[in-house]
């Protein structure tokens, strides 16, 4: 069986920066990946149009997070705050890019956040986004913007986790022998460093299939890295898979959107529930 063509080149990365802790984590992860792949980093700060509209309303009051007091919230204040956040975002991007000596650019857009972000990422190879943003009820699963990016983005998506990111930590790739899985594996091989452990989770329901997948993965990996471990994971439930991933404690989970073993919804649920950064690889061929 001939090895299918894989396309995993990441040359431009768009990172959404809203100055929240998760967006800082996504910036850090994006910068490290960009540094590793010699990619260009493009920072985007979006001034939420809904926030500005709300500020124009005559009765709007802000409930302060740390005091629970009401404070008037007008357009001038909103503009001032957004401008300040934009400057901070620009500075954060510059600092990260300089650390990895990568080319970078920054732009501030105004509009509805999720849609504007997806369109901003259209001409790039990876959209890096924080697991959660500024959504008020944001402490469970993915935030609304991250969910939209995972589900609707046309490009690869990196969902960063608050717990930090390092390419020296182990990488986990879900592999079922499909073309999408090969893409994910290829992306992982591009990211692994000399001493990074690569864990390949072989998703199959029987030994023969597992063996076949393993041979295929081994053939693809070849001599590109020596620190590879294969794990057989039966496709019994998503919970088991999540537990296996969490137990490995990876620095990054790479999963393809187009696999045979898991449907898209299962993959979205997985991304929603794992406790590590995830790189969702979309097949472009």
């Amino acid at each position: 069986m001939a090895t299918p063509t894989v396309t995993t080149t990441i040359k431009r990365i768009t990172v959404a920066i809203d100055c929240s802790p998760y967006s800082r984590a996504s910036l850090s992860a994006a910068a490290e990946i960009a540094g590793r792949l010699h990619a260009e980093l493009s920072g985007v700060f979006i001034e939420d149009i809904n926030l500005l509209r709300m500020a124009e309303l005559p009765f709007t009051q802000e409930i302060q997070a740390h005091t629970a007091r009401f404070e008037p919230f007008d357009l001038a204040r909103a503009e001032r705050m957004l401008k300040k956040q934009s400057k901070t975002a620009s500075r954060l991007l510059r600092e990260s890019a300089e650390r990895f000596a990568i080319p970078h650019s920054f732009r501030t857009l105004r509009g509805t956040v999720p849609s504007l972000l997806l369109s901003a990422a259209l001409d790039t190879d990876l959209l890096a986004i924080g697991r959660w943003g500024n959504t008020p009820s944001c402490k469970r699963g993915l935030g609304s913007t991250a969910q939209k990016a995972v589900r609707e983005s046309k490009t690869n998506v990196l969902v960063a986790h608050h717990a930090g990111f390092s390419l020296q930590s182990p990488l986990v790739v879900l592999f079922d022998g499909s073309r999408g899985a090969l893409n994910a594996l290829e992306t992982a091989l591009g990211l692994v460093q000399q001493k990074t452990h690569l864990h390949v989770f072989l998703l199959a329901n029987n030994e023969a299939e597992q063996e076949k997948n393993r041979n295929r993965a081994e053939q693809h990996i070849g001599r590109k890295t020596g620190l590879v471990e294969f794990h057989n994971v039966p496709l019994t439930s998503g919970t088991l898979l999540r537990q296996c991933i969490n137990m490995t404690g990876p620095g990054l989970l790479l999963v393809s959107e187009n696999t045979d073993a898991l449907d898209k919804e299962a993959i979205y649920r997985l991304i929603d529930s794992v406790e590590c950064p995830v790189l969702l690889v979309r097949s472009t061929a």
Binding site: D48, I49, N50, L51, R53, M54, E56, L57, P58, F59, T60, Q61, E62, I63, Q64, A65, H66, A68, F70, E71, F73, A78, M81, L82, Q85, T112, N134, T135, P136, S137, C138, K139, R140
Partner: protein, 808 residues
């Protein structure tokens, strides 16, 4: 009155016969020294040491170098060996009040074991606690609790969001909080559109948003409460996990020390603290990653973090045998009661209980502490601290800097340790009497005075003690041994040192020095043993080394710069003898004393006193002469003379009454107009009846005059008149003894001035006859005649004067 015979050369020296010593050399003497001649002091020490009641501490008084310390240490070391070994003491952290570290006592030798056990416990905690908190079970539970909080918060907000959403209102996050806004098709209604709404619609929206805001505020007000609840749950979980993890470690240790109440209590506190502050055991790796200012500082900080779990053993008696006997050479307050040291950390002085240092009182607790009293007094606050410790029977460590207010950093107040120590002060007599007179506490706290004598009776036992002592010095200093003749010479030196031929000096230091110096000359002379000659050479060399001043004075006399006549006869002039002490050397020197008489009211004027150059004792001696003259010559007629007395060419203060007999001889010579033989020198004090009394420094005085005569050439007439009662003090040099033996120099023991004046003038003093008169050709007779003539002349002058007044 018959004049006394001059002393025989055998009277001038109490020789020690080497044959009387039962050994040929000190090599044969290897017995321990048994201190001799200080029975009174030893009895006092024995009593003081035996008395266990408060205040029966000892002050050993006596001149420096008399072996007080050696004697005490020897006695105490013997006694202390059979006494129980005192407790170990350690300081531990006080979890209730960190400024007051707790003192814990343990049986001798156990403190180090306790310290090591606590170190092992700490190591265990650093392993067990991180293990427990990194377990999956714990992390799962922790995560659940945190998620519960997040769920609760999110759920409440979601509920509100949903309610809002049903009313087309969105909850929007602002940069610093939340706000509500009406939405239409997923987007916030802009201001223009809102303004186009009917008033009722606008009011309804505003009302709804107002209600939602209130609800949101209510939720947010509850968040801190939920956080507290979450934290409480987490704390409880942590406590349970930590308690479970550390329990086995503590159980083992508590079992070991179950019978020790203080340690058991301390271990309870440690366990409680370890559970409460489990986080510190998890921070080990984190701290190591911090970049310290200096490697040392980093290490120190890391190491000191766990000090509350450590033990500071201040007294470890694991190698002590018997009760301790401690001599503190520098009794500063820190060295006595201990100290709290500080560390400089980031420019600040910090301390904790591990920096508590024990003092001499701690080390001597349960035993004996010997201190030099003078050094104690010279150390600021040390004496007061010692008294306080004795009085309160406890050792309280106080920082000198804190007492003086020099350090304002947070310091410690360690728990005092009970004190049970016998304190022994060593000091001079003067210091003892000063303290006794002026310090009200002293007599209460130092009730036993061990008075060390300056000398001891010279008998056979004392000779053997000297020999044994010399032997011990020789062994200690690794010198050549001494033959018996050398030992005998040292004994004779000891006798001379004491100033009494029937006694021996107890000034151990002088004897030790002489033995060492003799050893040096024995080396130089290549003698196998230190011989009599080596000892004599050492004595002579010592005299030579100290001889610059006496030689200068002697040269001045020989060159007649200082006028001392040793040949002719002069009226009213006599050679007195004085002793000069420079450093630790004394020497004698003759002084010319002259007297002149004139008519007057019967008074003797002491010129020294008139110009404030005479000390009180000297003035007293001169006034006694008045009494003598009045008693002898003033009973039948008034004394119509006035006499002046002076020490010629004296440029410093004159004190002492040892020249009073010489002054009286000069007066008698002047009154009787009979010359005194200048070949004699005189010493001795006199009483109102003419009795000649003992004086000090007789050997130096005789040798001083002898040396001058020897330089000028001995004529076979020269000599010295000394009080007969000083004969027992004579330990004269060999050359003096030889001159006496060869009748080239004479020493007359005089009991009464009448004996002396006859020797000095060759004319009898004259005994009072039944009619109250004296023989005409006697000194007294001549004196009476002179005084009578003066009285008559004075009477005549008075009568003439009265007649002149009447005529006028």
């Amino acid at each position: 009155m018959p004049i006394p015979e001059p002393l025989s050369h055998t009277d001038l020296y109490n020789r020690c016969d080497p044959e009387s010593l039962s050994f040929k050399s000190t090599k044969e003497l290897d017995e321990a020294i048994t201190v001799s001649g200080q029975d009174r002091a030893h009895e006092a020490i024995r009593f003081g040491v035996g008395m266990k009641h408060q205040g029966f501490n000892i002050f050993a008084l006596g001149p420096a170098g008399t072996g007080k310390q050696t004697a005490l240490e020897n006695y105490l070391e013997q006694k202390a060996t059979d006494e129980p070994v005192p407790l170990d003491w350690c300081y531990v952290y006080n979890f209730a009040d960190m400024r007051r570290p707790m003192a814990i006592s343990l049986p001798a030798g156990d403190a180090c074991g306790f310290r090591d056990a606590m170190e092992q416990l700490l190591e265990g905690l650093l392993t067990v606690v991180p293990g427990a908190f990194s377990s999956e079970e714990y992390q799962e539970q922790e995560k659940n609790i945190k998620e519960e909080f997040a769920e609760r918060q999110a759920s409440e907000i979601e509920k509100l969001e949903k309610i809002a959403s049903e009313k087309n209102i969105a909850l929007i996050r602002t940069p610093s909080g939340f706000a509500f806004a009406p939405v239409k098709k997923g987007e916030v209604v802009n201001a223009e559109e809102f303004m186009r709404l009917k008033s009722a619609e606008k009011e309804a929206i505003e009302k709804e948003i107002g209600t939602l805001k209130e609800s949101m505020q209510s939720i947010m007000k509850q968040i801190p409460k939920w956080q507290r609840e979450t934290r409480k749950k987490l704390n409880e979980l942590n406590r349970q996990v930590a308690a479970f993890a550390v329990k086995p470690l503590f159980s083992e240790l508590k079992n070991t020390y179950k019978d020790h109440k203080a340690i058991a209590g301390y271990l309870d506190d440690v366990e409680k603290d370890a559970v409460e502050h489990f986080g510190q055991f998890l921070e080990k790796d984190h701290d190591k990653q911090q970049t310290p200012i200096s490697p040392l500082q980093g290490k120190e900080t890391d190491s000191r973090r766990f000090n509350p779990y450590r033990v500071n053993v201040v007294i470890d008696n694991c190698k002590t045998q018997g009760a301790p006997v401690i001599y503190e050479d520098k009794p500063s307050i820190q060295n006595l009661v201990g100290d709290i040291e500080h560390l400089a950390q980031m420019g600040t002085l910090v301390t904790d209980f591990t920096l508590i240092k024990a003092g001499a009182l701690h080390k001597a607790n349960g035993g004996y502490l010997i201190l030099n009293a003078r050094r104690l007094m010279m150390e600021p606050l040390a004496y007061e601290a010692l008294k306080k410790a004795i009085r309160t029977r406890q050792i309280r460590i106080e920082s000198l800097a804190q007492l003086y207010g020099m350090a304002s950093t947070l310091s410690l107040d360690p728990e005092p340790i009970p004190l049970d120590t016998k304190i022994i002060l060593l000091g001079e007599r003067r210091l003892y009497y000063l303290l006794s007179a002026h310090d009200p506490d002293f007599n209460e706290l130092f009730k036993v005075a061990a008075d060390f004598d300056d000398d001891m009776e010279r008998d056979h036992d004392a000779h053997l003690f000297y020999a044994a002592f010399i032997s011990s010095i020789i062994r200690q200093e690794k010198l050549r041994h001494m033959d018996a003749s050398a030992v005998a010479r040292v004994i004779e030196y000891g006798s001379r040192l004491s100033g009494d031929s029937s006694k021996l000096s107890t000034h151990i230091q002088s004897i030790t020095d002489l033995v060492n110096e003799s050893g040096y000359y024995a080396d130089e002379n290549n003698n196998d043993l230190i011989t009599h000659g080596d000892v004599q050479q050492a004595i002579d060399a010592r005299r030579y080394r100290a001889g610059r001043v006496p030689e200068k004075i002697e040269d001045a006399i020989l060159q007649n710069t200082i006028l001392i006549d040793t040949e002719s006869e002069k009226v009213g002039q006599i050679n007195g003898l004085s002793v000069y002490t420079l450093g630790n050397q004394s020497f004698g020197k003759p002084s010319r004393i002259t007297t002149r008489i004139k008519m007057g009211k019967g008074e003797v004027v002491d010129i020294e006193r008139e110009v404030d150059m005479g000390g009180p004792l000297h003035s007293k001696g001169v006034l006694i002469l008045n009494g003598f003259l009045g008693g002898r010559f003033g009973q039948d007629q008034p004394l119509s003379l006035s006499a002046t007395l002076v020490f010629e060419q004296s440029y410093g203060e004159v004190d002492g009454d040892s020249a009073s007999s010489a002054e009286l001889y000069a007066l008698l010579s002047a009154i009787s107009a009979r010359p005194v033989k200048q070949c004699f020198a005189v010493t001795g004090s006199v009483n109102q009846y003419g009795g000649v009394q003992a004086i000090g420094g007789v050997n130096e005085k005789i040798e001083g005059f002898f040396d001058l005569c020897l330089k000028r050439g001995l004529t076979g007439k020269q000599g010295v008149l000394i009080p007969a009662s000083n004969t027992r003090n004579l330990m004269l040099r060999e050359d003096v003894r030889d001159a006496v033996r060869e009748n080239r120099f004479f020493i007359y023991p005089v009991n009464h001035v009448d004996e002396g004046i006859e020797i000095l003038t060759g004319i009898p003093a004259g005994r009072k006859q039944d009619d109250g008169s004296y023989p005409d050709d006697s000194i007294n007779g001549l004196a009476v005649r002179t005084l009578k003539a003066m009285a008559e002349k004075q009477k005549k002058q008075k009568e003439n004067s009265n007649t002149d007044n009447e005529n006028t």
